[in-house]
């Protein structure tokens, strides 16, 4: 947005979905003299100050109509100072002097359709006694438009060569705006057949290699050569050097983008262009948007229609989605775990399988139909990893658990999380079965995505005899109670004062197990917490804290609702049951 006083030659990009044939530009060109019709910068400034002062004095500036004498004077002026005002439509051809003479000479047998058309237009102009003015245009398809060279050269170096890319892009002049590559509708991602084009034409190759849209260009030019009055000059006319300047370049792309360079300058300073002749004259010009504006009623109707279409799409989608969502009972936290045993690495033998099992502590519940444990398939190592022996499982498992804290537990006690135990074992072709490792993981107490590497160990006997047996015939020491991996159940139940001791238990470290977990929490209390912080909503996750702090509130609310329901039931029963006292 240039200021009032700036006159940078700038480029503007507009977007419009209306048909381009309605686009019109008004060009006002005038030679700059002291009594020019177009307001100069000074005059504009004076007028603005004047209107401001008058408004302060609370007087309306009088706008007098132009009287007849004023108009005649103005026309007279325009002849002297070369004032020209033209409304140019899209791809409207206006001839300059040279073209007028050249095309007006006549048509021959080998003239193209364009030349014929131009000849007809010129004949019409001659019939109406119209002469070409200073403002003319070059449109798509004009052969002698030198201005196209401006497309290729960006710097003022005389040795600049246009690159292949510039040549290619400037060569794309297709009119067909709806190429299948560009207009991809919602339902139509790819063509189902004939994805490959085996014989592309050079045009196809150009369009596909160079990412640009088909576009058309038009140049509005000014012919600033000296006017020779043919009537007065009886001398032989010397050929005048052409002095054509670009006033404005308009480029329209097939997706409705309009690029105008320079931009409209109707309220700002005029653009200047100098002739560079002996008598160096300065011309200034204004570019104004001259298309017919849309009628206000039509605009309102169009906006309403578009809004309706959008609203309909939204409601359609919202209807598909619906409003129902499964919720757990108040006072319970539901935990969904989606996990997978991904892979195992660096175990001693091959052909390994994993046994996993879930252990629930107190106050955790699960449905009876849920699967608590399972076995993976027996996997052999992959050849893709050179340094490690990796076995791939990609074995998914899922658990759905409920945490229901008992009423007498401490109010803010963090719950003990369930554990998943893993046992890795191998079974080879000879039927030798060996325990390869044990490990476990706590289900994380915070929801999210976890990618864990769990290190495993296996029990080793006290003597070398066990190892020998394991090597030759298979069979190794295994844990009787898999919960020994974490906190043995015996220890939990005994509740003696001694600390847990595994002293004397010999193990050997084996490989690692890669497990991925996705943990999701759901509860009414968390919904309440989200509801509370409506204003300053941060992205923090609440977890158990929110659950525990709101649990009393929800339980009370639940109790209240239940009590109210019971009361209503009582009262309706009283109304409907017969009351003998009424009849007495």
């Amino acid at each position: 947005m240039s200021g009032f006083y700036e006159n940078h030659v700038n480029c503007a990009v507009y977007c419009s979905t209306d048909t381009i044939s309605n686009f019109k530009i008004r060009v006002k060109l005038e030679r700059l003299t002291s009594n020019a019709l177009l307001p100069s910068l000074q005059r504009l400034k004076i007028e603005e100050d004047l209107s401001r002062l008058l408004e302060i004095d609370d007087k309306n500036p009088n706008k007098t109509k132009a009287s007849k004498t004023d108009l005649a004077q103005a026309l007279d002026e325009s002849k002297r100072s070369d004032y020209e005002e033209v409304i140019v439509g899209w791809q409207q051809k206006l001839f300059n002097r040279l073209e007028f003479d050249q095309y007006g000479k006549g048509v021959g047998a080998e003239s193209s359709a364009l030349e014929r058309k131009y000849y007809d237009d010129i004949q019409k102009m001659k019939m109406n006694r119209k002469q070409p003015g200073r403002v003319f245009t070059y449109i798509e398809g004009d052969t002698n438009c030198f201005v196209k060279d401006l497309d290729y050269f960006m710097t003022d170096s005389p040795n600049e060569e246009p690159s292949q890319l510039a040549l290619g892009i400037n060569n794309i002049r297709k009119r067909r705006g709806g190429q299948s590559r560009l207009r991809i509708s919602e339902d139509d991602y790819l063509p189902k057949a004939n994805i490959i084009n085996r014989k592309p034409t050079p045009d196809d190759i150009r369009t596909n290699h160079l990412a640009t849209l088909p576009h058309q260009t038009m140049y509005i030019m000014a012919d600033l050569s000296d006017r020779v009055d043919h009537a007065t000059a009886g001398l032989v006319l010397l050929p005048q050097p052409t002095n054509e300047r670009v006033l404005c370049m308009v480029r329209v792309y097939s997706n409705g983008t309009i690029v105008i360079e320079p931009d409209f300058n109707s309220g700002k300073m005029a653009y200047l262009v100098e002739t560079g002749n002996l008598n160096n004259e300065v011309y200034h010009y204004y570019l104004e948007h001259g298309s017919m504006a849309i009628h206000k009623d039509d605009l309102v109707k169009e906006k309403k229609l578009l809004n309706e279409v959008r609203l309909r799409k939204q409601t359609h989608l919202a209807q598909l989605v619906g409003n129902y969502f499964e919720k757990p009972l108040p006072g319970a936290l539901r935990l969904n775990l989606y996990g997978e045993i991904v892979s195992g690495k660096n175990f001693e033998y091959d052909e390994l399988y994993v046994y996993y099992c879930l252990d629930l502590p107190e106050s955790w519940r699960a449905e009876a139909s849920m699967v608590f444990s399972g076995y993976t398939h027996t996997a052999t190592a992959t050849e893709s990893s050179r340094h490690d022996d990796v076995v791939y499982y990609s074995h998914p498992f899922e658990f759905e658990l409920w945490y229901v804290p008992s009423k007498d537990s401490a109010d803010r006690e963090l719950p003990p999380m369930p554990k998943i135990y893993f046992q890795v074992a191998s079974q080879d072709g000879w039927g030798r079965h060996r325990a390869e490792g044990y490990t476990y993981i706590d289900i994380p107490s915070f929801p999210g995505f976890y990618d864990e590497e769990l290190s495993c160990w296996r029990p080793r006997g006290d003597t070398i005899f066990n190892e020998l047996r394991r090597f030759f015939i298979g069979g190794s020491n295994e844990l009787e109670d898999i919960s020994y991996v974490a906190i043995p159940r015996q220890f939990q139940n005994e509740k003696n004062k001694n600390p847990m001791s595994r002293f004397g238990f010999r193990t050997e470290s084996t490989g690692t197990l890669n497990v991925r977990l996705n943990v999701i929490f759901q509860s009414e209390e968390i919904a309440m917490e989200y509801g509370k912080k409506e204003r300053g909503r941060s992205k923090s996750r609440f977890g158990f804290d929110a659950f525990m702090s709101n649990i009393n509130a929800t339980l009370d609310a639940y109790e209240q609702a239940r009590r109210r329901a019971l009361e209503v039931r009582e009262s309706t029963l009283q109304i409907f049951s017969p009351q003998e006292s009424a009849y007495e």
Partner: protein, 175 residues
């Protein structure tokens, strides 16, 4: 009801013995889920890298789910196939992987395996190609029957997924 968007791509695969591979993928979900927009299954193109052992597909995934509950979170079923110079297609491996539940960007390597036959069959696989296939690939991911299988680990399929969730906080769900 809440919505989940999964936007991303199947980047490619690595670690397979031969490199002209393609992938047939499918997203399976529970009965509470519904696909609103996007294809939930598809097949990538065959990539034949000339120098490096990684096949690049960059196959776009753009899915929009609506769900009534948390069970049956969608998961990917992948089958990696190989096309050799004679134009024969043979199954290389199977892979399963959950769509991550927490919103954000996830780069996941889904590992794959194929069923292993007897010694003679393995020799055949080595020379002629082709291996035993699962009778019912869909059932296998439910994990109750898998212990009967013996497998050989193959390569990895790389996925890059963005997960966007909507309207879950109203129902008290936390990721």
């Amino acid at each position: 009801m809440s919505e989940v968007h999964v936007i991303g791509q199947i980047l490619g695969a690595s670690g397979f013995p031969e490199s002209s591979v393609f992938c047939k993928w499918k997203v399976q979900m529970g009965s509470a889920w519904r696909v609103l927009q996007g294809d939930h299954e598809g097949q990538t193109q065959i990539d034949e890298p000339s120098d490096e052992p990684i096949a690049n597909w960059c196959h776009p995934i753009d899915l929009h789910f609506a769900t009534k509950g948390l069970q049956g979170w969608p998961k990917f079923h992948l089958q990696v196939w190989h096309q050799d110079v004679y134009g024969r297609n043979e199954l290389y491996s199977y892979g399963f992987c959950h769509v991550p539940t927490s919103p954000g960007l996830h780069e996941i390597d889904c590992v794959t395996w194929r069923p292993k036959g007897s010694l003679i069959e393995e020799l055949k696989t080595q020379f002629i190609g082709g291996s035993a296939q699962l009778k019912n690939p869909d059932l296998v991911s439910s994990s109750a029957e898998l212990y009967k299988l013996r497998t050989v680990s193959m390569g990895k399929v790389h996925l890059r997924l963005h997960v966007i969730v909507r309207n879950f906080d109203k129902y008290g769900v936390e990721f």
